[in-house]
Symmetry: D2
């Protein structure tokens, strides 16, 4: 269980979202409010796009806590971006704290974050890895369920070189969850998995709020849209509201996907259960 | 504000005190109960004596949090000692997180830990440093009030090569506080300073619980004595009780000094106000 | 390509071998003489046995260079052992520098170090991993060829809970190389692999010096025996001679296995080619 | 002794100077050619100006070696600047390796780097510190001679808020050296000090190549100017030539100051001996 944040809109200083809000992500690294445990001190990461320089994002991660990292503070005060992801980690029990396990994970143009736990991950890990093509298998550097889920997503998305739409990314998120659930089901486990994922290619963003047991509440997820006209619109997706009294924060309903298009249109859709139930070709 | 622990007694595994108690020091690194803020995640340190090998302690520190440090966990399961100190740090605002600022601080045979804050430290720092002999001035590696207080203590203790008694160390602790208070008073500041210090030379231990404003409660400090006979006695001094329901933990009264002699005799004494009030020769 | 050192004999201070020799392992971390590149600055590790405390070794690793690590220096001056391994790493291109990739690797009672490179490791990695039982598959934390080779060794050794002899460990080393060579051969690669491995269970030690192409010189490996009587005998195996003028250092001949028994008997044997050629059941 | 690099010119990707040249600064972190010891692996730092965002530079430092730092690699491929400093450190004996001791040091708009050693620094340190105003005294975070020299420079430069010219910065560099030499002389030491300093306020740059004993060769320093017209001119100052066969690299003569104005005019001047000999008001 971690906390994360996605931004798309006009170019802004990273610090404006990471440090300055009343309940900023950096504050959430030790005072998260919507988790039982307020601490997310097992490293952090931020990935931003400087589209005039490169289509791939710049990723900065560290295994030290976000609240005391001077490099993060200085970068945040000097880097502007129109699309970035940030994540503060609470490592699952038994998972190493190390840079290789810090979110956001990157693959070519894509960034990926996860807040949650794949139940029984150790039971499905070999099967999951066996399903991957060499290129994605070899790209995995760490041991987290999150990074492995990213590899599944990338395979389901298909060719990662072409430009894809927010809708396609959202659909691939749903397929990823379906695939992970199917593998977990085969283990006979009935414990719940928490899947709050966020992904971007620097143009569009998709995120999902989901828990496998419908009787449970998924991990918290909100979004906020500001600006009337598309060219001044800013969209933030975040695990927790960045300020308390704002009426601007909308809670993402359970089992819904949020997508932000290149043109900053925001869509919220119930996850496609047909897809979830559909058969995928077994690996 | 931090949390710390001192042990003297028969040789035991570090893990037996650092990890295994219900409310262990490692747990206190993120779930301290007797501070407003439960988090002590700005690095840690442990110093132990292997008296058959060396009169100086072995110090292991890290700027990463204690709860996730695999080296600490492995060392704790493989190192035994009859005298050791351990500390989990919550850096004061503006103080760097780095190994140079991790407790316990070491000088020759001595270890030093602090839980608290010297009010107005930045106002008195130059004066404090000017009072030190070159050897102690040059030994300071970091920027904390704690390490500077250690240098004052060592100067007041005098020749640090000779063996000194628990009582002498306790008296030097009181003199150190008196000196720091006098300098602070000169700045006109009336904000309170918190001085929970612990010091050892590997033979004896002295610790103090003190706040400069008598109307306030000092930071928490407890001790526990087990074993009827001196040769099987174990003494622990700790910021928080390591187990909840124990009747063994005794709260150190405000403004009292705890000393543990080489023979494991424990004394609790009210701080000597005459000393506190006495004039020291100005540096 | 890295540098390593194994010690077995009477209890000694780690620093006596790591720091004090004229051409110590710590010096080799930046001034190795028998590699083209003198630098081994990509982290380090030391693992030692405190047999009165635990049958498993204590491992201390860091991703920072050995030459400047203050924790290593202090530990080395305060820890004694009668059996320890130490390693300074030069990461192969493309391999992450991180604690998860630092040698010695540990599994239960065993420590493992590697100096060399498995040619075409990325081509055989999936096949190698597929051959492992879950317990060994899941134990792999990093991405190095070295740690993967360790898992192959452990599988070939069989039950890792029982006590095994130096001879058995030496044989399992040869089988491990044979297995790795067979997989590499299947990839069609003809580039040479370098396999200087060392392994211990805390009682016995086995090490091997091998390069797959007999026309080439394997990475350097030496051993040194001191003390006439078994009860005062000390044996060191090291990538480089720790002092220059000593006549005590014997170069391990190519394709030979060195074993040190519990009783400190040293054997040097040519690798068993029959075993190397024998068929293993394909995974 | 370290290696450093200064850039001023049109906006370029940091990687174009840090990684891509044949003999790049990153290569110099382990294969420096113009030092007896090729290794500069005790941490690194880079500071760049994003003048549209802030007049203060963004500094990124790490105590790990530059050659393996993935954050540095990624930042360098995604950050462009028209003025930046970079430094790879070889810690002087006894100096801690830690972020607080990494160059470039920053104070408000200024960046500072040093390649060399102030002889007898420990003898003059207290005197040096005593001469500083509180603001500069308190700003010192580490223990290096380099950072202390920076504080002396800032004091000699005077008001650090106003815009100052390259010439003024060059003069203050000379005054700084004169002051340090005077203090050193008082200690009776005759061992040589090496003072290759570089400083910038983001607009202008000044650097100096100096050794206190004229019979000796100062540490190496070069500069290179490309582009005929001022608006396309690029200037690099570097400890070593970034490519071997270039005829573009000019060795800075001993005891000379290089200045680069806001308009990218490069001046080389012999250090003003009158200034060096002149009396400064004693602190």
């Amino acid at each position: 269980m971690c906390r994360f944040l996605c931004y798309k809109g006009p170019q802004i200083l990273l610090a404006d979202l990471l440090y300055r809000p009343q309940h900023s992500l950096i504050l959430q690294s030790f005072k998260a409010r919507e988790r039982t445990e307020p601490l997310n001190g097992d490293g952090f990461g931020v990935g931003w796009y400087a589209t005039n320089i490169s289509p791939t994002p710049c990723v900065f991660t560290s295994l030290t806590p976000a609240w005391s990292n001077q490099n993060l503070r200085r970068l945040s005060e000097h880097v502007e971006s129109s699309c970035f992801f940030a994540h503060v980690r609470a490592a699952s029990p038994g998972m190493r704290v190390g840079e290789e396990n810090c979110h956001p994970f990157q693959h070519h143009r894509f960034l990926w974050m996860h807040n949650g736990t794949i139940e029984g991950f150790w039971q499905i890990r070999r099967r999951l890895r066996a399903s991957l093509p060499d290129q994605l298998y070899d790209a995995i550097q760490g041991t987290t369920d999150s990074e492995h889920a990213f590899a599944v997503f990338l395979q389901l998305l298909g060719d990662t070189e072409r430009v894809c739409s927010a809708k396609e990314m959202g659909q691939a998120l749903v397929l990823t969850i379906a695939q992970l659930e199917r593998w977990t089901a085969e283990t006979g486990s009935s414990a719940p998995s928490y899947f709050n994922f966020a992904v971007t290619d620097g143009q569009s963003i998709a995120a999902v709020r989901y828990v496998s047991n419908p009787a449970l509440e998924p991990a918290s997820l909100y979004y906020s849209v500001a600006g009337k006209h598309a060219n001044e619109r800013t969209v933030v997706i975040a695990s927790e509201r960045l300020n308390e009294d704002s009426t601007d924060w909308i809670r993402v309903a359970p089992n819904h996907v949020v997508t932000i298009t290149q043109e900053l249109t925001v869509n919220i859709e119930l996850m496609d259960v047909v897809r979830l139930g559909s058969k995928m070709s077994p690996p």
